[in-house]
């Protein structure tokens, strides 16, 4: 026997042996055909104990039920026999599988590529392998820890739906809640000494807002950064890689910036140092610089080194933002007054683009990179301001023109009225 403490060893042997043994047990659902007589259902349906009847009532909604797997496929036993003899361990009955047993039961099919091929060739078959690399899997294997998550913790046993189903516990909108069931429970997490505020902090983040409010399914939830079955927090040096999956430009700039090396040596987690890990707030230019409430100011002093760079970057972004806001408001005013400025507004979009690029360039932590984008943006914004002013001038011209024409018309009307009075409209007398 090898010493405890290694990932492999006895536990891995047991797991693998169990899988091998399980592989020899024939499943009663071959090609999706349900057994002719299912006595498990028949009895359990009418039992008044909720713990025993509940699963039967819930199971029809399960994706396994759809594919024709019956109770015995996971629980073993013989559905053809009515009565307690069906639940005989000699007939393969395993009762309610938990912990390592559960991994075996699920893994018997889900780790078998040839078997899964018959049902959904696109499904991955490495969940068990991944699980063994995760914190949950390691604690289960090493310490027999039964508190950690196993298959049924996230995929509720009799109501498993594909992740694309909005009712599924692992649909992107529901993942945070599923993980939070344990990780936000301070009593349960107490022995592990890890924080329990992740779910609530995540709900404050822009990523959650994008997912929940805008329905943007590309926004990340727990598993996108932590992995699904191989769940583990990103290591300090590779936070940037994880964020960089989507925020590639920022991660690239950051990786080549002076901060990358310094943060590694300080042992602080890259992107998360400034942006936090779970409560990632919407960024604004006010976070840049060395003043009150800025992020740079937490470490940098004003007037020297990095503080100067931060202040310079902030100043140039402010100037572009100001020019852009001015152009936008002028054009909006002209538009509200009825002037046709749609082309100018489209062209102003290039300044918006420059602002986005300049903000990304902050992560180079070099003022000239930011300055280059700001300069091109200012060009565009200035043109737009010019066009906005011209539109407002045209508006004034229209009003003046109107004043003149209406004035002339009023003059004409006055003349007519005088003419009318002059004539003293001779009233003709008719017959009564």
């Amino acid at each position: 026997m090898r010493a405890r403490g290694t990932i492999g060893g006895l536990s891995r042997f047991v797991l693998t042996a169990g899988l091998a043994l399980a592989g020899t047990v024939r499943l009663d659902a071959q090609g999706g055909a349900a057994p002719e007589v299912d006595n498990c259902r028949t009895c359990h349906e009418v039992i008044t104990v909720e713990r025993l009847a509940g699963p039967v009532k819930a199971y029809p909604a399960d994706v396994h039920a759809e594919k024709g797997f019956s109770c015995a496929a996971c629980h073993g036993g013989d559905p053809a026999i009515a009565g307690f003899e069906a639940m005989d361990p000699a007939r393969g009955f395993v009762g309610v599988p938990t912990g390592r047993r559960l991994i075996q039961v699920c893994g018997r099919c889900h780790a078998d590529a040839g078997f899964m091929h018959r049902y959904n060739p696109a499904l991955r078959v490495d969940q068990v392998t991944e699980y063994q690399t995760s914190v949950h899997g390691q604690r289960l294997a090493q310490f027999g820890d039964t508190v950690v998550a196993t298959c049924a913790s996230c995929h509720p046993a009799h109501g498993i739906r594909p992740a694309s189903d909005p009712k599924s516990s692992v649909h992107p909108l529901n993942v945070a809640e599923t993980c939070g069931r344990c990780h936000a429970d301070s009593t349960r997490m107490a022995p592990f000494g890890i924080p329990t505020d992740q779910r609530d902090r995540y709900r404050e983040s822009v990523h959650w807002r994008a997912l929940a409010d805008r329905g943007d399914q590309s926004a990340p939830t727990c598993n996108d950064c932590h992995g699904n079955h191989g769940a583990a927090p990103p290591g300090v040096t590779w936070v940037g890689n994880v964020c960089g999956q989507c925020h590639a430009v920022m991660a690239d700039y950051f990786g080549r910036s002076p901060h990358s090396d310094i943060f590694n040596r300080m042992g602080v987690p890259g992107c998360a140092t400034c942006h936090s890990n779970h409560a990632i707030a919407a960024v604004s230019d006010t976070l840049l610089g060395v003043g009150e409430g800025t992020i740079c100011g937490r470490c940098h002093d004003a007037g020297i080194g990095g503080g100067v760079v931060a202040a310079t970057m902030r100043a140039s972004l402010d100037s572009l933002r100001g020019a852009f806001a001015l152009a936008d408001s002028l054009l909006a005013r002209a538009e509200r007054a009825g002037m046709e400025v749609s082309q100018a507004q489209v062209d102003l979009g290039a300044a918006r683009n420059a602002l986005v690029q300049a903000r990304a360039a902050i992560h180079t932590f070099r003022a000239d990179s930011v300055g280059a984008y700001v300069a091109s943006g200012l060009n565009v914004a200035d043109t737009a301001v010019g066009r906005g002013r011209k539109a407002l001038d045209d508006l004034r011209f229209r009003r003046v023109g109107l004043g003149i024409s209406v004035g002339l018309i009023l003059l004409l009307i006055t003349g007519l009225l005088l003419k009318i009075r002059q004539h003293h409209a001779p009233v003709l007398e008719g017959e009564s």
């Binding site: 009825g338 002037m339 209406v406 009023l410 009318i420 409209a425 001779p426 008719g430 017959e431």
Partner: protein
């Protein structure tokens, strides 16, 4: 000779020359003899002319718009945008056209109600009334077809909803829909069709009917309301030229000034280009002069006595229209100088109904 007298003798020689060749002097004589009664209801006499003036404004601005507008689904919106943004005073021409349309239909309705309530339809003016009712319908047709021409989002959906209504006509509904839309859906074919109707068919018909209407008005003279006739006493009149005409001109010029101000301060909007694949935006509503019908149809239940609610509504409006058309023939008392009170009530009732339903329509469907 003084300058004015030089001008006057030149004018006399030119008129004589024209008279020998064209000979319209007779018309001038008739016009000079024409008189207009003066009484407490004389103010209403100006409304027909006001509507005519606004129609002339529409014709002129419409012809100007033709210089730049392109009637195809691919180019209509862009051509209107170009007109508003790049063409000098294009915004003015388009905005005046849009505002004058609304003003014209407004004065048309006022003219209609004044004729109705003052019984100007009584014999011998029945055909004047019938031609006027036809003109009212055609004016609404102008409004409906013209609204689609910029091919913007609101117009596209309003036309979709509006043309859908014809489907409820029994038996011929679907056929009528296809003829109106130029196909099964509102598309570029609809635009071309509406364009043909708006710039050729309707103007030709309206101009003919207006000519008939004016001729009849000249023939029969201005109608004096029965209440004034009953009063008796001396009949006071003013000459058409120059007295009535001068006052007419004051009204017309005021309308022109109002149009210019509206065009400058509230220019015509364009919005987004029509896109058949975009879901209908919230709060589609028709132009204000259709609102009362639109709102009525919304209030009707889905089924009435086995028929579709909307069908009942449309047929109801049709019947109401026919009844109003026949009022001169139904109001026997008016011919005798003792108009039935019931028709006053009907007139006031229709007016009140239209106003209330229009207000409800805007209250219930707030603009975004």
């Amino acid at each position: 000779m003084s300058a004015p007298s030089v001008v006057r003798s030149w004018w006399a020689r030119a008129s004589a020359w024209l008279e020998d060749r064209v000979g319209l002097g007779g018309l001038g004589a008739v016009a000079r003899k024409k008189t207009v009664p003066i009484h407490r209801h004389t103010l209403w006499y100006y409304l027909g002319g006001m509507t005519l003036f606004l129609f002339i404004v529409q014709l002129s601005t419409g012809v100007l718009l033709l210089f730049y507008y392109r009637p195809s689904a691919d180019e209509a919106y862009e051509s209107v945008q170009f007109l508003m943004a790049e063409v000098q005073f294009g915004w003015l021409v388009r905005s005046m056209h849009a505002w004058a349309a609304n003003l014209m239909i407004f004065t048309l309705f006022v003219h209609f109600f004044s004729v109705l309530l003052l019984r100007a339809y009584r014999p011998p003016r029945e055909i004047t009334w019938v031609s006027g009712m036809a003109l009212l319908g055609l004016a609404l047709g102008f409004g409906f077809t013209g609204y689609l021409l910029p091919w913007n989002e609101l117009a596209y959906f309003a036309t979709r909803v509006g043309t859908e209504i014809v489907r409820v006509v029994p038996l011929a509904g679907d056929f009528l829909l296809r003829v109106l839309r130029g196909g099964d859906d509102v598309s570029g074919a609809t635009l071309t069709r509406f364009y043909a109707i708006h710039v050729a068919l309707l103007p030709a018909t309206v101009i003919t009917l207006v000519a008939l209407h004016l001729y009849l008005v000249q023939r029969h003279g201005m109608s004096v309301p029965p209440s004034v006739e009953r009063q008796g006493g001396r009949r006071r009149e003013m000459r058409f030229i120059p007295d009535f005409l001068l006052r007419d001109l004051v009204g017309w010029l005021s309308a022109l000034a109002l149009l210019a101000a509206l065009a400058a301060f509230i220019p015509a909007e364009l919005g987004d280009k029509a896109d058949p694949f975009v879901p209908a935006p919230a709060g589609i509503k028709p132009e204000w002069y259709f609102m009362f019908m639109f709102q009525t149809l919304k209030y009707l239940p889905a089924h009435i006595l086995g028929l579709e609610g909307e069908a009942v509504g449309v047929i109801g409006f049709g019947l109401a229209g026919v009844l109003v058309l026949l009022i001169p023939f139904l109001d026997r008392g008016a011919a005798r100088g003792r108009p039935g009170r019931i028709f006053t009530w009907i007139g006031v009732g229709i007016l009140a109904y239209m106003i209330v339903l229009t207000i409800l329509g805007y209250a219930a469907n707030p603009t975004k």
